[in-house]
């Protein structure tokens, strides 16, 4: 098992275990949870959050955040609808939308890295700006008549199973993101940047370039999500995905990604995404009122911010005691494989 996983394992495992327990309980005791239709709803509705959570995890690990993702998604959907109405081919529109997303992300990234502005402030600004542009582009229209094979793909399931077709490309993207974050030098440098940006710079890591790249990737994934959203719900509107950024950030933090950067695992973040998704699904099935759902989610979030810190403090205290009593190693070490 990669060491980055074993070291942060405590909170990841807690979230993963909670997810499994919740699923087992729901299968056993919640009427309607286990049927294929509900499961496909659950996964389909959680996918947009999960897609954006991939780059958001990397971004938060590096100590930054992007709150404009839902607006970027909405803008992509709106531009997609507008261009479709203008008669452009869908095969041209989708790459253009993705490119637009990259541009949106790079604008955030340049404001953060070149002007040194805090990403929280920058992306609250572009959250409003991108949504505003979306409304200017499409007005209050809803574009619904996209080609059927695209709609079918975005809403369809694999064979007779409950699994949405879009889940498979998501798994591929998840694998890519996990390798990038946990196995490449680039991913390693993100942890260093998040935990000690100055020290990272002094170690020759190109901090600004890494951040710019991440913002671009986040814009790309946000607009991919916008395209998926418009097709999945067969509706391109300027207000698509409104508020999604909060669900993404909430899920990522719940999954043990430290808001201050430098700590967490992608597995934990994705477990957090599906834990929140499943919890909301179950509460809806149990007819828990929307207000109560929000309260439960809120409490869970506070716990999620506290949980990893408490777990970490315990392990740091242990390591400190070990170091204090350690002898100087004398024998040449045997390198661990």
């Amino acid at each position: 098992m990669p060491e980055s996983l074993t070291r942060a394992v405590r909170w990841d495992t807690v979230v993963g275990a909670l997810l499994i327990v919740l699923l087992l309980l729901s299968f056993s005791f919640v009427d309607g949870f286990g049927n294929a239709l509900n499961l496909s709803f659950l996964i389909g509705n959680t996918l947009p959050i999960a897609l954006i959570a991939l780059p958001m995890t990397l971004l938060v690990v590096s100590g930054e955040i992007d709150l404009s993702v839902a607006s970027t998604a909405g803008l992509s959907g709106a531009v997609m609808g507008k261009l479709w109405n203008e008669g452009m081919a869908i095969e041209t529109i989708i790459p253009l939308c993705l490119l637009l997303g990259v541009v949106c992300g790079l604008v955030n990234g340049l404001l953060v890295t070149r002007l040194g502005l805090p990403s929280l402030a920058v992306t609250i600004g572009t959250l409003a700006a991108y949504r505003g542009i979306a409304q200017i582009v499409l007005g209050s229209d809803a574009v619904t008549d996209f080609p059927t094979q695209y709609l079918d793909f975005a809403a369809g399931r694999v064979g007779d199973s409950f699994l949405p077709q879009a889940f498979l490309p998501f798994l591929a993207l998840l694998a890519v993101a996990a390798v990038v974050l946990h196995a490449t030098p680039f991913g390693r440098s993100l942890f260093a940047i998040g935990a000690g940006e100055e020290a990272a710079r002094f170690a020759g890591i190109r901090v600004k370039r890494a951040k710019l790249l991440l913002f671009g990737a986040t814009g790309f994934m946000a607009s991919l999500t916008g395209v998926f959203w418009a097709l999945h719900y067969a509706s391109a509107r300027y207000d698509n995905a409104t508020g999604l950024e909060l669900s993404v950030v909430a899920a990522v933090l719940l999954g043990g990604i430290d808001f201050d950067g430098g700590k967490g695992t992608l597995g934990g973040a994705i477990a957090g995404v599906f834990l929140l998704g499943a919890l909301q699904n179950v509460m809806s099935l149990l007819n828990v009122s929307a207000q109560s759902q929000i309260v439960v989610t809120g409490v869970l979030l506070v716990v999620s911010v506290l949980g990893p810190r408490v777990a970490r403090q315990i392990s740091v205290a242990r390591a400190g005691r070990r170091a204090a009593s350690a002898p100087v190693p004398k024998a040449p070490p045997t390198p661990a494989a």
Binding site: T184, P185, A192, G196, A319, R321, A323
Partner: protein
Amino acid sequence: MTHPSDTGPAPVLALRDVVKSFGAVRALRGVSLELFAGEVHALAGENGAGKSTLIKTLAGVHRPDAGHVLLDGEPVQFHGPGDARDAGIAVIYQEPTLFPDLSIAENIFMGRQPRRALGRIDHKATRDATAALMKRLGVGLDPDRPARGLSIADQQIVEIAKALSFDARVLIMDEPTAALTGSEVARLFGVVRTLREQGAAVLFISHRLEEIFEICQKVTTLRDGAWIAGEPLAGMTEDDLVRRMVGRDLDELYPKQEVAPGEVALSVRRLTREGVFTDVSFEVRRGEIVGLAGLVGAGRTEVARAVFGIDRWDAGEVEVDGRKLTNGAPSTAMAAGLALVPEDRRAQGLVMDMSIERNIGLTGLRTTVKAGLVDRGAERSRSLDWAVRLQVKYARIADAVSTLSGGNQQKVVLAKWLATDPKVLIVDEPTRGIDVGTKAEVHRLLSRLAADGVAVLMISSDLPEILGMADRVLVMHEGRLTAEIPRSDATEETVMAAATGRAA
């Protein structure tokens, strides 16, 4: 163990046979200490000897497992820092924590300002009381001045004034001079002497032995949590003290080997960063250790940062081993064979929350790669190899560097850079804040590196270190290189003359 005599006036504050353990670690094993009024008492020992635990025991943070804390000869139990403060014990830390936007007077009386009718703060009384404290300390700090912009020495003086306002009789000063320049140290010592004459008992901790001999009358030495000696300083030499601290003779404090310099490895030509340093040119040859001296703020660190690429330069050029470096690009400097051990270990040298393994690994992210992925096996053996070569004291290579002592952290920084096999090594204050034993190890290491053909540029404010280690001494004054002094001519006088701009 010898016990302090039972005759004469009782010590203001004393420890008797104090034992304190944390888990399996015995931080203090039977330590005694007596602080008398009108006396400055040094606490000496290497990092990890138990000094911090002793201070915290005196300050009421820790309670001894066995033994006693005695106040005016009577056993007392402090149930927290508040009890110790009420008993007249104050601790002045290395880095004061003042509110920058409040005035000196407001900082001193924070939360307990004199009141007028209706609970309004009496600003005049606050000011007058502060002025009286400053007068007592013999310093001319304006009570209305905001804390922001005060030198660290003046901030510590404010902390001392605050302690006096609590009627402190015992002042514990934990490495107060570590971040101070020479003139600031003199200012602080002036205040300490005034306090001593007024009958305060002072416990003084410093890694700078010459300071201990300058300001203290007695010294208590700890080693590995054990009490080694408590004795007057009169008649002792620095060597005596070092021997008590490390338990052996340091073979050589500055083990400089003679090496014939090779070809030029680092060449800096007419380097200028506007408003910071101007027209700086020098060379460092293979096998040479070149000292870069100067007062704090003379531009030494700034030159090193620009050479390595952290800051951009406005004019000039830098070559490492004949390769011109790109302006503002540390990664290309590293690729050319340049390494920089920066001044601020905690912020610049290390990612404190990361493991020892990964901190050392950070400089190898480009080299320990297999098929585009981090080669974890190679990373671990590279890190283990260097951690062991530098004798880093750690429990597990996967522990965060923040769990290590300062000296061991510095060794990790060195390991991280030596692992890149540098041709040119720049070290900025390589031994600041680390104990004498580790300091000697670092010096031996630098000397061996030079012997192996590495070009070393050593920035240091520690003059004996510069004089002991350097083949040549470059001196900066107000952003310019003002002197180059060969080893044979380098003395405290010649270097300080150039550093203060008095050179001919």
